[in-house]
């Protein structure tokens, strides 16, 4: 029978069970003892907190405007295409009977041109929403704009650091233990 802990080597699963409170007291104690000496287990716990935190916030966070790859906007585009096609065909169908049957080839040519115009208009109009929905050009541009951000170009920590005040106070005080002004940097 499969149990929660049938694979103690699966550190990600163990970490999830620990964070989600699935472990009994003994298993929890054993896992915490492992955390003391196993940085990978600590990292797995940090990742589990991140994952569960993201899942819990799914409900309370409205979906971003960015189109989701999992749900491409093909259906609305197809619906719009159908609507445009139906309108174009209806327009063409209504316009043809109003033209009397041609006595010569010129009239037949006009009807044919009218149908061709309706069809090409239909195709042109119908294609636009599909291209709009399927193209990634707009998002690629956004991606480039983000790449231009110097903060993203420098992942090596060259950005100005902004540690909290208590950390600065501690470091400064440690550097100048006898200096009373060192307790309040920036004052």
């Amino acid at each position: 029978m499969t149990t929660l802990l049938d694979d103690p080597d699966d550190i990600s699963w163990l970490a999830y069970c620990y964070v989600a409170g699935e472990l009994d007291e003994a298993a929890q104690g054993a896992f915490e003892a492992r955390l003391l000496d196993d940085p990978e287990a600590c990292l797995a716990v940090a990742q589990a907190v991140e994952l569960i935190g993201a899942c819990l916030r799914l409900d309370s966070t409205p979906q971003a405007d960015r189109p989701d790859r999992a749900f491409p906007r093909k259906r609305p585009a197809i619906a719009l295409t159908s609507l445009v096609a139906a309108a174009a065909i209806l327009l063409a169908a209504v316009s043809i009977p109003r033209n009397p049957p041609p006595a010569d080839g010129e009239g037949a040519g006009r009807a044919s041109v009218s149908l061709e115009l309706a069809w090409s208009s239909l195709r042109r109009d119908a294609r636009l929403p599909l291209l709009d929905a399927e193209s990634d050009a707009g998002w690629d541009d956004l991606g480039r704009a983000e790449d231009d951000d110097p903060a993203r170009l420098d992942p090596e920590g060259e950005l100005p650091l902004d540690p909290p005040r208590w950390l600065l106070v501690a470091v400064d005080h440690d550097a100048n233990p006898g200096d009373p002004t060192s307790r309040s940097p920036g004052n």
């Binding site: 929660l4 620990y18 935190g53 999992a70 909290p164 440690d174």
Partner: protein
């Protein structure tokens, strides 16, 4: 003639003699930036209380300032995790603060969406939420149902198995597999 201090080692205030007993502030700040979020999440998981997690977090980095020079750059993350987990266990043992270790995941739902680390680093970024949302939508419907029942409905695995008319082992296997996929997507987002 003495050379400049080694990277990460501080010079004494009135001369350039390297001080082997402490780390310099810029180096500590960089370590804080690199490892702070993960350390805080571990503390939050162990203590299940943001206030206690903040206390332990501060204590951990104060120790890093005082004793961090004893760890090499390669092992510093492990050293920091060890200090943090000890701080958390010590804090829990404190009789004045002793309380029952919270079960379930409700404690994480109510944790404030902020960490004590630099640059307004939230516990979970919007991009991460969207990455998980997309990965969840790509899971098989049954896996989605299991994740939703456990995460949002706070059902036990036994209850989910009963509701879905599945063996408990199947539910656990599917949950584990689904979590791996979500986690992979989240890590890809983190590395992007």
């Amino acid at each position: 003639m003495e050379g400049p201090p080694e990277p990460g080692r501080s010079a004494r205030p009135r001369d350039l003699t390297p001080d082997p007993d402490r780390l310099d502030s810029a180096y500590v700040a960089r370590l804080f930036d690199a490892h702070g979020p993960a350390v805080y999440r571990v503390l939050l998981a162990m203590l299940r209380d943001p206030h206690q997690a903040h206390d332990a977090f501060q204590a951990t980095f104060l120790k890093a300032i005082e004793r961090g020079h004893t760890a090499s750059a390669e092992t510093f993350r492990g050293w920091l995790f060890r200090v943090a987990t000890r701080e958390a266990i010590a804090l829990r043992r404190d009789s004045r603060r002793r309380r029952r270790h919270e079960q379930g995941i409700a404690w994480l739902r109510h944790a404030p969406d902020a960490t004590p680390t630099a640059r307004e680093d939230p516990l979970v970024r919007d991009e991460q939420i969207e990455a998980v949302r997309a990965a969840l939508a790509e899971l098989p419907p049954l896996d989605q149902a299991i994740i939703r029942a456990r995460m949002f409905g706070d059902r036990t695995f036994a209850q989910i198995a009963e509701e879905q008319h599945l063996p408990l082992g199947t539910v656990l296997t599917r949950m584990r597999r689904a979590l791996k996929r979500l986690s992979r997507r989240l890590q890809e987002e983190d590395e992007a």
